[in-house]
């Protein structure tokens, strides 16, 4: 079904999160790489050796949440824009996501929160914008916050009035 829709099911998404939600009291990388393609920048860019792919670069990356610090380097290193960092704080879900469209969001703006199907699920607050530069492979990384129940649904942001 995934080969037809390109929308990961909730089970697939949950399988990429730590089993124990408490682990997300610190930021952790969520790697949504479900398709075996020849690619390994997440592994080679992680300064903490938390991501393993191995000799066969077609293998699906495995993450060690004990080693992951949620630094977000993999977020802008992933060519497939398939990695985000998630964290739970004061009952809210925080995400660092890659964002490659213009105009860029500004801190404190309210944007729409969007799920993997492209549907709007709620609105969200822009917490931080790390603009694209050479060291981030020209990818902007945006930190957003929204209500915790959307933890497994949120994937990207969309500007309001579109």
């Amino acid at each position: 079904m995934f080969e037809k829709t390109a929308v990961a099911t909730k089970e697939m998404v949950k399988s990429r999160f730590p089993k124990d939600k408490k682990v997300l009291f610190r930021p952790k990388a969520i790697i949504e790489c479900y398709h075996e393609i020849p690619c390994n920048p997440c592994e080679t860019s992680c300064p903490f050796h938390a991501i393993t792919i191995g000799e066969d670069i077609n293998a699906i990356p495995q993450i060690d949440f004990d080693k992951c610090t949620g630094c977000g380097i993999c977020v802008h290193s992933c060519p497939g824009l398939a990695i985000m960092v998630a964290m739970i704080k004061n009952g809210k879900a925080y995400f660092k996501i890659p964002y490659e469209l213009l105009p860029l969001p500004k801190v404190n703006e309210r944007w729409l929160a969007v799920d993997r199907n492209g549907d709007v699920i709620s609105d969200c607050k822009i917490e931080q914008v790390m603009t694209a530069k050479k060291s981030t492979n020209h990818t902007t990384v945006v930190t957003v916050s929204l209500e915790q129940p959307y933890l497994y649904d949120f994937v990207t942001i969309r500007r309001k009035h579109e």
């Binding site: 995934f2 080969e3 037809k4 829709t5 390109a6 929308v7 990961a8 949504e32 790489c33 479900y34 398709h35 075996e36 393609i37 020849p38 690619c39 390994n40 920048p41 080679t44 860019s45 000799e55 066969d56 670069i57 077609n58 293998a59 290193s77 992933c78 060519p79 497939g80 824009l81 398939a82 490659e100 469209l101 213009l102 969007v114 799920d115 993997r116 199907n117 492209g118 492979n137 020209h138 990818t139 994937v155 990207t156 969309r158």
Partner: protein, 363 residues
């Protein structure tokens, strides 16, 4: 007649990579490029590449082109001659080449030739497919990413291979609304991470669907789509209308084999490789001695593989003429290993199957 050790036809990822290794081995090289700049399709690619560090993974395509071109900048003009706006219009078995540039024909005689001509886009037959507003994906990328022109307001993409998926994403980045992506087969053809990116941006991915006809007076105004069953037969009554001013066709590539065919090289017709390809040895030599081929002209694949193949080809051309690359053996093993790794996953199944049919052993 201009005499050279090596003439490379095509300045894309394969040709540029071949030039670098051949120059390192001591050959003098002429590189022929049809466009007004080097880089081939790489210069239109704004997305980050897959693969590993060895193929510049996570670097954007146009920046990989810069790296490959910069790699050649240390060589003097007598070692490396670059011909831009130059089309090779003749390749003969005795390695004489005719090159057309600025209304003149130049004649070259090479000790070796590397054919790295790449591929051309396949077309799709449907009613009114010649209406203005209907483009191939390569043309869309050229006007959008080289000349900075928006191709239209709205677009429907036909084909869900990596090119269709990537160009759809680039169109959204350029401010064009992608109304739908049609795929005749029952599943998405390219990398699913690319498709997921489109889906989350609100693009409808319509599998088992193709374009039946285009409608419009002076230019494209709308298209009629039709659903297909699993035998790719139209399902009557499933026609739907979509208003759009641009239709982008991305239904695959065919190797640009014409020069190889002209030179009389043994050719094979292998659907998994995209059509007619030159038969070649594991040293990338075609049936004509000291004529080599690499990149998409030998089988449609990703640019990562084209770069690796190009390097191998440059090394082989040098080896066979007695030019010694400083670490030839190590390099050859490493490059062959890189190709194996790139091709060994499920996405490499088609190319593995094609190469097996072609009788290549390095699979």
């Amino acid at each position: 007649m201009i005499n050279r050790d090596l003439v490379i036809i095509g300045g894309g990822p394969a040709g540029l990579s071949a030039a670098k290794v051949a120059l390192d081995a001591g050959m003098n090289v002429t590189l022929i490029e049809r466009f007004n700049q080097l880089g081939g399709q790489l210069i239109k690619q704004t997305h980050k590449f897959f693969g590993s560090k060895l193929q510049y993974a996570k670097t954007r395509g146009f920046e990989i082109a810069k790296i490959l071109i910069d790699d050649l900048s240390t060589y003097s003009e007598d070692r490396l001659q670059i011909l831009l706006d130059a089309t090779c219009v003749g390749l003969y078995p005795d390695k004489v080449l005719t090159v057309y540039q600025y209304n003149k024909y130049l004649k070259y005689k090479a000790k070796s030739v590397i054919v790295a001509t790449g591929a051309s886009e396949k077309v799709l037959a449907f009613e009114n497919n010649d209406l203005p507003g209907i483009y191939g994906a390569g043309a869309i990328q050229t006007i959008m990413n080289i000349y900075g022109i928006q191709p239209g307001k709205e677009v429907v993409m036909v084909g869900s291979g990596n090119i269709g998926l990537i160009v759809s994403y680039q169109l959204i980045q350029a401010g064009v609304k992608v109304k739908a992506l049609l795929e005749a087969s029952s599943t998405i053809g390219g990398y699913l991470v690319h498709a997921s990116k489109l889906k989350r941006l609100g693009v409808d991915l319509l599998t088992n669907t193709t374009v039946k006809k285009a409608l419009g007076k002076d230019q494209l105004e709308k298209i009629i789509t039709v659903r297909l069953d699993d035998q790719w037969k139209e399902i009557p009554g499933s026609e739907k209308e979509i208003e759009t001013d641009v239709l982008c066709i991305s239904v695959g590539l065919s190797p640009l084999h014409q020069l190889m065919s002209m030179a009389g090289a043994d050719m094979l017709d292998i659907s998994e490789l995209g059509g007619l390809v030159p038969k070649k040895t594991c040293d990338y030599e075609t049936s004509i001695k000291n004529v080599y081929a690499c990149g998409d002209v030998t089988g449609i694949e990703e640019a990562s593989s084209a770069m690796v193949e190009g390097r191998i080809c440059g090394l082989m051309a040098a080896n066979h003429l007695g030019f010694k690359h400083p670490n030839a053996l190590e390099l050859e093993n490493d490059l062959n290993n890189q190709l194996c790794v790139l091709r060994q996953g499920p996405c490499g199944e088609k190319i593995r199957c094609g190469l097996k049919k072609a009788g290549e052993i390095n699979v």
